[in-house]
């Protein structure tokens, strides 16, 4: 159970400012996801919270205690790394037990704790193996096991799934969601650049860009009412289409944004924006048509009718009135 | 964090005490008529004056420069053989081990082996005689014209295997696709060597070259001491050998110190030369890419 309070946090390497005036409150037991493009500072923020990186200025409080002088291993923080960071020369058991051994727990207590964690993570048959003898998913589970035996107040994940292949990623995503359900009192912070992970796992998402927090909100809020163009473009897959110029002006905005499922092709080819189909992406359940309507990038339309238009044919793209997001010239949303 | 100094401390202290601080001491002593057992008189740069006006010193400098003539041989021979052994050679691993044997042997012992082989009444001359090539026999180690080339060949013999090993692992790091692509483009064996292999390992070549230059200044003592004793006269003597002789044998402490200072300073020039080669190379390839 831990509350986290961050105030005016800054971090710079020489002249390079990585984090600028971060203000963040995280409630106990929340699952928070930091998301943003690479280089936005999300991992650095996580490492500052963990105590692996000193902040340049500002305050990080865990449960009301200023962490400035608290070393990393005494913050009650556990972390799962992208590269798993398992000790290659130790068995699975020893990897999980390492922190407890250093705390001088008795052998029986360690064995009990490790076995319990192993059971939870279906690792019991592998306790004597070395990390090199495990699959990627199993290694990631060991890394999680190493974190949970410490019974942390704060559970940090640094892009834990990016080394896994697509199928395993979906599975591990589910397991992490289940883990959160099993540990309702543990506060978790999860860093990713994958917005699907962010959407599916988070209670609240923190979107970072260039060292600043762009917005904080529930996945639904960020998806349905993005505060600005950056968030609108970043959250949601495939990305939101942006249309500017006359077409937007005709609808009374500087820029309008419509997600692919807010667009459809006019069956009678009369209304909407006319353009040429440049490409059709057939994904089984969905078909996405890329239509060049004279904007910087082709707009992506999720087709509801099964028949895909031919590449090169002229179509008319029509936005649903309720799906339109409007943005002012400064990028802020207008509602 | 303070206790982490326990980790660095011993190594730092030992290196400073044994390797670095003595250099300052010897630099300081090179300004004295140094007598380690008694009192030393300050003489300014007199030791250096004597050193630079001593023809023996210049003969030794000449020897060192002559030995550097072996450089192309020491670099190209292992390079070519490492490339040759890259594929299509039976027992390449065993051969590399055989070449590598001298690397583990004491230079003193290598010197001893060659001394017994090359002495005037030694096996090489006897074998030449036996093959009816009596006119080819030489006093290899006691003729001033022959002794330096013999030393160069012996350095080749001793360092060859290490060079092959180093270039082999450098070649192994070059992606195979690169060679296969060149093959598909119609490059033959030596074209692949010149256009694919060499550019990919040029850093290793520069490093090995620098290593050999340094070795010529640093690691010659054992060989010279045993093989030739620096002779005939000073015809094969190196700096380290001559410093040792002057200090331990003859007791010319002051000039030995001055000569040490000269040696250390000239070695300090080698990396500077190496860096400028690498920098030039970068500039050159950079210009090509543009």
């Amino acid at each position: 159970m831990a509350q986290l309070r961050i105030r005016e946090l800054n971090k710079s390497y020489g002249d390079l400012e990585v984090l600028k005036d971060i203000e963040l409150d995280i409630n106990a037991g929340e699952f928070i996801v930091f998301v943003g493009p690479s280089g936005c500072g999300k991992s650095t923020l996580l490492r500052c919270i963990a105590g692996l990186e000193p902040s340049s200025s500002g305050l990080i409080e865990i449960d009301g205690v200023d962490t400035k002088s608290v070393p990393a291993d005494q913050r009650g923080v556990a972390m799962v790394f992208q590269s798993y960071a398992l000790y290659p020369h130790m068995s699975v058991f020893d990897n999980i037990a390492f922190s407890l051994t250093l705390q001088k727990w008795s052998a029986e207590k360690i064995a009990t704790a490790v076995c319990e964690a192993a059971q939870k993570l279906q690792l019991s048959p592998y306790l004597n193996r070395l990390p090199a003898q495990l699959s990627g998913g199993q290694r990631q589970r060991v890394a999680i096991g190493r974190a949970i035996v410490r019974d942390p107040k704060l559970f940090l994940f640094d892009e834990p799934l990016s080394n896994l292949d697509a199928e395993l990623r979906v599975q591990m995503r589910m397991e992490i969601a289940q883990l959160k359900a099993q540990l309702p009192n543990t506060t978790m912070i999860y860093v990713t650049h994958d917005q699907v992970e962010a959407m599916t796992l988070a209670d609240r998402i923190v979107v970072l860009n260039e060292g600043r927090i762009e917005d904080i909100g529930t996945p639904q809020a960020l998806f349905e009412k993005p505060k600005n163009r950056f968030i609108a473009g970043f959250i949601g897959s495939p990305k939101m289409n942006f249309v500017g110029g006359e077409k937007a002006a005709a609808l009374g905005s500087h820029t309008i944004g419509v997600r692919p499922d807010g667009l459809h092709l006019d069956p009678r080819d009369r209304r909407g924006w006319s353009g040429t189909v440049t490409y059709c992406e057939y994904l089984g359940a969905d078909v996405y048509a890329f239509v060049d309507i004279g904007e910087a990038a082709p707009v992506v339309v999720r087709l509801r009718e099964t028949a895909a238009p031919e590449v090169g044919s002229t179509v008319h793209v029509l936005p649903d009135a309720v799906a339109i997001h409007r943005f002012a010239e400064n990028g802020m949303a207008e509602y | 964090m303070r206790n982490t100094w326990l980790l660095l401390g011993p190594a730092l202290a030992l290196e400073l005490a044994v390797l670095f601080l003595p250099l300052f001491y010897i630099g300081f002593r090179s300004l004295y008529d140094w007598n380690p057992a008694g009192t030393s008189e300050f003489v300014g740069f007199e030791n250096y004056y004597w050193l630079f006006t001593d023809p023996d010193f210049w003969e030794i400098v000449g020897n060192q420069l002559f030995y550097l003539l072996g450089l192309p041989l020491w670099v190209l021979a292992p390079l070519a053989v490492a490339y040759l052994l890259r594929e299509s050679v039976w027992c390449a691993g065993l051969l590399r081990s055989i070449y590598f044997l001298p690397a583990v042997m004491s230079p003193a012992i290598v010197g001893l082996v060659f001394r017994s082989l090359l002495s005037t009444d030694g096996s090489v001359n006897a074998a030449l005689d036996g093959m009816g090539l009596g006119s080819w026999t030489q006093s290899w180690l006691t003729h001033p014209d022959w002794v330096k080339p013999v030393v160069i060949l012996m350095v080749l013999w001793a360092g060859f295997g290490t060079g092959v090993l180093i270039f082999t692992s450098a070649f192994a790091a070059v992606p195979r696709d690169l060679f296969e692509a060149a093959k598909l483009d119609g490059a033959n064996f030596w074209q692949q060597f010149w256009y694919v292999a060499m550019p990919s390992i040029s850093n290793t070549v520069v490093l090995w070259t620098m290593y050999q230059i340094v070795a010529i200044f640093l690691f010659m003592f054992g060989w010279i001491y045993v093989l030739t004793g620096g002779g005939p006269g000073l015809a094969s003597a190196t700096m380290d050998f001559s410093i040792y002789q002057q200090f331990i044998r003859f007791g010319f402490y002051g000039t030995a110190a001055a000569q040490t200072v000269v040696l250390v300073l000239s070695i300090a020039l080698v990396p500077a030369i190496g860096y400028s080669i690498v920098a030039l190379q970068r500039q050159f390839t950079g210009a090509q890419n543009r």
Binding site: A85, S99 | T4, E15, P22, L95, A103, S123, I166
Partner: protein, 276 residues
């Protein structure tokens, strides 16, 4: 796996001819050491016909090679312990501390490799002799060890960069392992292959050293190392070629043994030069 290209006879032949140049001196050495002086005098370049171990026995006694072997082993073992112990810890420190200052110190300590042994050895000898420690085996061992510390730091540091990722170090920190614990429990066990390489190299180097031995131990014939004893014997006018060859042979055998035992470690040690 792509299939191996066919064996080239020409290239194999060239390679084997080169190998002959490396084997032949040893065969000559063994033959010379083991033949009778009379047989050698009769036909010095030909094949030996009359064998004897008398040369070996003579050399063994004359140069006190038995004791020299023990002294050399002691020097080499001390050198290995000193070098690995201090260099491993220092390399770990440099892996963990990557500040600009630490980098400068690292460069300095690695560049110690290029200081000629003769340059530091003479002043060190003067001090050692003043302290009454000339001829001391432990001093010779320590000096041999320290002379390899720059290389060992470079080697271990390169190795640590490979096996100790930043994530791994961070994980250890979060698990509560301070720098010393992390060194002892994680870095040292992981560095085992690198330690084997450095031990093999330092052993070979200090076993073969002549310069340090000839400076520090010269005054005490009881503490001559094999290279020093063998070369001292060989430079005596009275000793014939067979005796020299026999002494060289005795000095070679232990090293060949190490070579056979630790060839892989040695090779990866020398290979370190190509990595940068």
């Amino acid at each position: 796996m792509s299939d191996q290209p066919p064996i080239s006879i020409a290239r194999t032949l060239i390679a084997f001819l080169i190998a002959v140049l490396f084997v032949l001196p040893f065969l000559f050495l063994i033959a010379t050491a083991l033949r009778t002086p009379a047989d050698f005098a009769l036909n010095p370049g030909g094949l030996p016909v009359a064998f004897t171990t008398a040369n070996l026995q003579e050399a063994w006694v004359a140069a006190n090679l038995g004791r020299a072997l023990l002294v050399t082993l002691a020097v080499a073992v001390i050198a290995c312990i000193v070098c690995v112990a201090v260099a491993l810890a220092a390399a770990f420190w440099f892996r963990v501390n990557d500040s600009r200052f630490a980098r400068h110190v690292r460069t300095l300590m690695i560049s110690g490799y290029a200081i000629p042994a003769i340059a530091w050895l003479i002043p060190v000898f003067v001090i050692v002799a003043r302290g009454g420690l000339a001829g001391n085996v432990v001093v010779a061992g320590v000096l041999n060890g320290v002379s390899s510390v720059p290389f060992a730091i470079y080697f271990f540091h390169t190795y640590f960069l490979q096996v100790l990722s930043k994530d791994l170090l961070d994980a250890a920190t979060l698990d509560g392992a301070g720098p010393l614990t992390c060194f002892r429990r994680i870095a040292v066990p992981l560095a085992r292959p690198a330690i084997a390489s450095v031990v093999a190299l330092v052993f070979v180097w200090s076993f073969g050293d002549l310069l340090i031995a000839a400076t520090i131990l010269q005054s005490n014939p009881d503490n001559y190392t094999l290279p020093l004893a063998a070369t001292t014997l060989a430079t005596k006018e009275s000793v014939n070629l067979q005796g020299q060859a026999a002494a060289a042979l005795v000095a070679l055998v232990p090293v060949l043994f190490v070579f056979a035992l630790a060839q892989k470690s040695l090779a990866s040690g020398f290979g370190a030069l190509s990595e940068k």
